[in-house]
């Protein structure tokens, strides 16, 4: 207990922070009088008091966090905060089981965007807003938010930051102080989100739908206020705006920040990852549209381009909006979309999966091994653009990819064992571990995760958490060494 106390102390603060963020939906609930304010009153009260109790009970044993504490705290933050985030849903929807409420909250925070709720259109505005707000906060990271707000996290902040931020090279800081870095990232995030809200309002959405969808798009979460998702609007303009902002959110926010700071687009040119990401995604859009048109799913190329672009970008960036039932398309395209969701987005973005930088490094390393067969004496470094990737990082990336594949295979087999058919099982795991959203067949774009059994739902919940924390942060807790004295 003595060992856990400092972790619980900070965790308590995180929980209180989460309680504070419920103010926004509460305010909306009061203003629109949608009848959900009780859910937020209770939710806030329980969450805040629990956090306060945790912090007060462990006051006496405050000390600096060690790297080990960092991993534990990051994982616990996500597990515990998800539970508290589910409270308003539980209060408002008495029929909802804890399993489903927890899944929904995890899906929100981990920016997966898969849902077990049916009848989204009829939910109170504030409840939907809360779901989308979870998407938004989970996108940049709840811990990053805490680091930005609580300077008192001090040295441990960097540890936490590293545990939550996606990508293989987390040492690079934008500013000397980690708090400043976190603040700057959130500043850029907020500015782009505001731009997204305004753009959506300009193409005809009201403030509530614009805000919800902007939150979901920027966090690459993919929740919607409609069961039919973005397909509800049936508007090429809305889809176009969302495509642009999903692509923006799929790039490294450090690059956005540098562009903001220097008032020039030079940082984008230097971002190898962003270039590869855009080339891969946009190239795939064109080819898949051509294919879909040629096999005559849609009568015109432009219709094919519209539907393929939106759904492909949405899945490839791990967002998860849907505008049409792409499960009806020839399987090659939806599977390719799921494959892209594993590899495409940049590190430091709000998306999930392996991340483009790891994809590129793995690829380069494979090329290096091949050249090494031809020139045994060769010494070569793996490089991305002008940057040299240290061997240490290359090894870490390879381990990550191996662990990722192993996890996908392992969890898919668990779902297969529970009786789910193969395409649904694999796609459910890919969609959740990449924090993408919809899978195929049972969990496909036309349906959602509600048909799953409780056990299957928990497997998917675990998959989302593991994916969002990039495996290592969570899995390190399962190693005996972590707990060794």
């Amino acid at each position: 207990m003595r060992k856990l106390a400092p972790v619980l102390n900070v965790l308590g603060k995180m929980v209180m922070l989460l309680a504070m963020t419920m103010l926004f939906p509460l305010l909306v609930s009061d203003l629109t009088d949608d009848g959900a304010s009780r859910a937020f009153h209770w939710g806030m009260a329980i969450t805040f008091l629990s956090g306060l109790a945790m912090t007060l009970a462990t006051m006496g044993v405050r000390r600096e966090l060690t790297p080990r504490d960092g991993y534990l705290l990051a994982s616990l933050t996500w597990i515990v905060l998800t539970g508290f985030a589910a409270l308003p849903l539980l209060v408002q929807l008495p029929a909802l089981s804890f399993t489903d409420a927890y899944f929904e909250a995890m899906s929100g925070l981990s920016t997966t965007g898969a849902t077990v709720l049916v009848g989204l259109d009829g939910l109170p505005h504030s409840i939907n807003l809360w779901r989308h707000q979870l998407n938004w906060m989970g996108g940049m990271g709840i811990i990053v938010l805490a680091v930005a707000i609580f300077p008192l996290l001090g040295v441990g902040g960097m540890q936490l930051f590293k545990a939550e931020t996606p990508g293989p090279m987390k040492e690079s800081k934008l500013t000397p102080r980690i708090t400043e870095t976190a603040k700057n990232l959130y500043l850029v995030y907020v500015l782009i989100t505001v731009a997204c809200i305004l753009a959506l309002m300009a193409v005809g959405l009201d403030w509530y739908e614009a805000t919800c969808h902007a939150f979901a798009a920027m966090g690459l979460g993919g929740f919607s206020t409609h069961d039919a998702s973005v397909g509800f609007f049936d508007s090429p303009a809305v889809e176009g705006v969302l495509i642009v902002f999903m692509l923006v959110a799929g790039m490294n926010f450090t690059t956005h920040f540098l562009a903001f700071r220097s008032r020039s687009l030079r940082s984008y040119l230097a971002d190898v990852e962003a270039k590869a990401f855009l080339t891969l995604v946009l190239g795939s859009c064109l080819l898949a549209s051509l294919y879909i048109w040629l096999v005559e799913v849609y009568p015109s190329f432009w219709t094919a381009l519209r539907h393929v672009s939106f759904n492909l970008v949405s899945i490839a960036t791990d967002c998860g909006f849907v505008s049409t039932d792409y499960n009806q398309w020839p399987i090659v395209v939806p599977l390719w979309m799921l494959f892209l969701s594993c590899v495409a987005v940049s590190s430091g973005s709000t998306g999930g999966g392996i991340k483009m930088i790891r994809t590129l490094v793995t690829f380069q390393q494979a090329l290096r091994e091949m050249s090494k067969q031809i020139h045994p004496a060769m010494v070569q470094s793996v490089r991305l653009g002008r940057h040299v990737i240290e061997n240490r990082v290359v090894f870490a990336v390879q381990s990550f990819v191996l662990l990722y594949v192993t996890t996908v295979v392992g969890l898919t087999f668990v779902l297969l064992a529970t009786g789910l058919e193969p395409v649904s099982a694999l796609s459910a795991i890919l969609a959740t571990i990449n924090n993408a959203g919809p899978g195929l067949n049972v969990v496909g774009p036309a349906g959602n995760f509600s048909p799953l059994t409780d056990f299957q739902t928990w497997v998917c919940t675990f998959s989302m958490l593991a994916g969002r924390l990039e495996l290592f942060t969570l899995f390190v807790l399962f190693t005996p060494r972590f707990w060794a004295k």
């Binding site: 020139h375 045994p376 004496a377 060769m378 010494v379 070569q380 470094s381 490089r383 002008r386 040299v388």
Partner: protein, 457 residues
């Protein structure tokens, strides 16, 4: 002249060697007593053990009445501080510093009198890299040097059967290449200089020095020998400072392989060089060379800091089929022994890099001085000042100028124009005259020509 040289490394030693023969009083300062002892054994100079940037050491070296300080230690910082001290504490009139880091060179303000007070920043590694680069760009040449901001080049080339001009008089060059202007500045036949005349017949094996506008160099070279196949593949042995710079310079235009002995250094090079294939191994390892297809290599450059390794590696590479081999060799006795034999070009780093320094210490307004034929001869670009009364050059046609025996004027750069030196060209004030001096002993006479004041005296 009283000269203090700081640093007895490769650069310092070779500098000392070439300056001591020109009647200078030289003191060399270094922290390594063994290096100094070796220098003192071989040359007539004074040595002093101590830190090159400490005022007490400098004073002991006799800096108070020195005319020139040459700071060429391995450390840029030491060199910079030494120059500053020499300027502020000891009022040494001229200060030269070796600066290796491009970072410093990118900020020329650093060298002004108010700052580090460096009159001339030299980078020997860069000079050698440029020298090598020219040899790779012009694989038939023995040496290529620039004048007039690169608009004119002087090239040394060995005439061979198959070149259209070989076996014919020099004056026939005009009919063969009517559209361009070139000047033969000197011909060495069996290592003896001939004064080239219109009726001189070029023979197989002659070393011909000619001047031409940069774009015409290849055409003239083709007259002297059949062109070699153009260079595409270069192999560099030794990833030291010079090897790494050369690889970085070449890698965008050629396919470059670099062999480095130290694993750690190879790793570092692999990080620096994006397109070079870095190999970890010995350049004298026959199997490695064969595995890397040395027989298809167009130019093999042995650039380690060990003469014997360079010689062995380049001999081996040549034997295994490399088309042309260049070896960096410090010891001048080896250079004379090997050049033109199995090794195509034996390059002495001292002579390849001494140009800027010579430019600075020569009397008269020199723009460029290049050391040729391993230091025996020089080519220089000098500015003519004064007027017809004070200068022996201004207002006279070239064939009316009394030049020391063997010295030839090759070209004149006037403003933006380049004139090849035909006998009737009249020299004007502020012309840049490009001369070939076949023998170092003639240099004081040449210097005198360009000192306007001395002509009046």
């Amino acid at each position: 002249m009283k000269i203090i040289i700081l640093g007895a490394g490769q650069v310092g030693s070779s500098l000392a060697a070439s300056l001591v023969s020109e009647d200078n009083d030289i003191t060399v300062v270094d922290t390594d007593a063994a290096k100094l002892a070796a220098l003192q054994d071989r040359y007539d100079l004074r040595t002093l053990v101590g830190h090159a940037a400490h005022p007490s050491v400098l004073r002991e070296a006799g800096i108070d009445d020195a005319e020139l300080l040459v700071a060429v230690t391995l450390s840029d910082e030491t060199n910079l501080v030494a120059c500053k001290l020499a300027a502020t504490l000891f009022h040494v009139p001229r200060r030269i510093a070796r600066i290796r880091s491009p970072d410093y060179l990118a900020a020329p303000d650093l060298f002004t009198p108010a700052n580090f007070a460096v009159d001339l920043a030299i980078s020997p590694e860069q000079e050698i890299t440029t020298y090598l680069r020219r040899l790779i760009d012009y694989p038939e040449a023995l040496q290529v040097v620039d004048f007039a901001d690169g608009r004119i080049r002087m090239v040394a080339v060995k005439a061979r059967h198959g070149g259209p001009l070989v076996g014919h008089e020099l004056r026939s060059l005009r009919q063969r290449l009517p559209d361009l202007d070139a000047r033969v500045a000197a011909i060495y036949r069996r290592d003896r200089a001939l004064v080239p005349k219109g009726i001189t017949v070029v023979e197989d094996g002659d070393e011909v020095f000619f001047l031409a506008a940069t774009e015409n160099i290849r055409a003239v070279m083709k007259q002297m020998r059949r062109a070699d196949a153009s260079v595409r593949r270069v192999m560099i042995a030794g990833g030291g400072n010079i090897g790494a710079r050369l690889a970085a310079d070449l890698e965008s235009d050629y396919s470059v392989k670099l062999i480095e002995r130290s694993k750690a250094r190879a790793q570092q090079l692999a990080e620096q060089l994006a397109d070079t294939l870095v190999l970890n191994g010995e350049a004298t390892d026959e199997e490695l060379l064969l595995l890397e297809n040395v027989e298809d290599i167009d130019v093999f450059c042995a650039l380690t800091n060990d003469d014997e390794d360079n010689i062995m590696a380049s001999l081996l590479a040549k034997q295994l089929g490399a088309h042309k081999v260049i070896a960096l060799i410090n010891r001048s006795s080896y250079v004379d022994l090997l050049q033109g034999g199995a090794i195509d070009i034996a390059l002495s780093p001292a002579h390849a890099s001494i140009g800027p320094l010579l430019t600075h210490i020569r009397r008269g307004d020199m723009v460029k001085v290049h050391s040729l034929r391993h230091g025996a001869a020089e080519a220089m670009e000098a500015v003519v000042h004064g007027d017809a009364r004070t200068s022996k050059l201004i207002g006279r046609a070239i064939d009316a100028i009394a030049l020391p025996e063997g010295v030839t004027i090759g070209a004149v750069a006037r403003g933006d124009r380049v004139l090849m030196a035909h006998h009737d060209v009249v020299i004007e004030a502020e012309d840049h005259v490009i001369l070939f001096v076949p023998n170092k002993q003639l240099i004081p006479k040449v210097e005198k020509l360009f000192q306007a004041g001395s002509a009046a005296a």
